[in-house]
Symmetry: C3
Subunit: 211 residues, 3 copies
């Protein structure tokens, strides 16, 4: 079952592929930052920031293209949503990287590496799906995969929240200011994971229409 596009629309897919590959690089940079020695983090945060700027340029290019070419309004909204949700993923990843450095959060709970690992895998899965939109079957695998990754991310997120805010009696609680700072980081990482799910749902939406 082919994923058909009018000639004018085809031009969007290379742009989406580049946007998704840019997100893979940002997710890997973020995971590296979380694993790195605190002294090495500012440079890694700058790299993620640069990738976010590159992503903004791609989003802008997609939007200008969208507004300049004739496509049916229906597909137009899907393309708008896909570009916006890819942008949301990248914004959240950049914000998380920034806050870890801004708040000098030298010690991060281990669960954060689980969150960033989920993001790397979701990014790779998304980048693999973008150019392969021809086969509905492979897309179904992609949706299922991103949805199960979102469940995995949510479990890590809830476990982090509980450890931060309602730790078991045998755990030494963190001071409240540290709780506040780490909570902001884990919430932002959860937003990125949610935004990957929105990307996947939008791709599903496009595929169903084009089938």
């Amino acid at each position: 079952m082919a994923f058909r596009l009018t000639p004018h629309e085809r031009g969007f897919y290379p742009l989406f592929t580049r946007a998704a590959e840019n997100i893979v690089a940002a997710a890997e940079g973020l995971a590296e930052l979380v694993a790195a020695d605190p002294a090495a983090r500012p440079a890694l945060a700058s790299r993620v920031k640069d990738l976010e700027h590159a992503g903004d340029d791609l989003t802008h290019e997609i939007m200008v293209k969208l507004n300049s070419v004739f496509v049916t309004p229906f597909d137009r909204e899907d393309i708008y949503r896909l570009a916006s949700s890819l942008d949301d993923v990248l914004d959240a990843m950049e914000e998380a990287a920034d806050r870890i450095v801004l708040y000098r959060l030298d010690d991060l709970p281990k669960g954060i590496a689980v969150q960033t690992d989920v993001l790397v895998r979701a990014a790779i899965s998304t980048a693999e799906a973008m150019p392969g939109l021809e086969k509905l079957e492979s897309l179904r695998e992609y949706w299922v995969h991103v949805n199960s990754l979102e469940d995995e991310g949510d479990a890590a997120y809830r476990s982090l929240l509980r450890d931060l805010l309602a730790p078991d009696d045998d755990v030494t609680p963190l001071d409240v200011l540290t709780v506040l700072k780490i909570k902001e980081v884990v919430e932002t990482l959860e937003e990125a994971a949610d935004a990957f799910e929105t990307v996947a749902n939008t791709v599903e939406s496009i595929a169903v229409k084009e089938a």
Copy 2:
């Protein structure tokens, strides 16, 4: 003044009615959880979680139907928005139920029961409006009602925030970690109330066009 739909579109309204009835059950489960003994809460949170999954399935069914049938693009966006905002209501209610249990919040301020009572009433009002979309006059009552409920919910929310964060001198302040946890719950309940308003505004938008 009839609320006219093309034959293809009619199929959406039974789905929206089921989605709204599912939300009534979730709102009642949430209100029950807030009123319950802490030991009984995990089972009630599981029930709300199950209803959220059922709601996800209904949203998915609406989206697939939306992408498969021919409707004008104009109505399509309204249907998309209505399904999304009903989904937002349910997500927020499930999250609030989950956090109360996850954070072992045995003692909840009384204002939270006011918030959940507002949600139950907004849910019932929404469910009553869905199948009765034929009469513009009854819809107007629904919008007015949901908007006044949102005002009521907002008053409860602001009063809770003030008690939590800037209590009067004669009130014993809570410890800050407890403030953080309860604040997250009351904010999530306020998001649910706001999302009911978005539902009502979208219904208004549909009705005005169809009038």
Copy 3:
């Protein structure tokens, strides 16, 4: 390069101009509140609240008009987004004003005045752009200006977050409850600045199509 609208659509622009002028008044009220003696703030917050209600009425008027007249679906979504993002600006400004009073935040960090100054300038720039949509060149200046204001706002925001949550050793840290309250205010002001950027991006989107 003319910004062309069908006769039916022209009616929206005076409404958008009024909405933007209303936002200027609210931003000025908010900046005045931040600079004012705490005793004078409740009256100023009431004024901002009244302007928010006036903005809601304008949004409602735009939505009803949008649903009643024939315009192409494409432009309809842009108009919807423009009205929504102007509404988001005003909601965030009203919420910030409200929380300063609700939480009795007598002492505000100086950076908050930087944030509200950015909002005043973004509001003025937006109001100037609305009636002048004829000239694409002047619109480009507007986008560039709002985007640079957003950068300025973001720098103030991040500096405030760092002072609140990870102050330098020579700064006396605030108590955590005060941190929580002020953090909510600065986040809400940052949301308002972000929403101005969404307004500018939507205006760009409209202009590119109409060029």
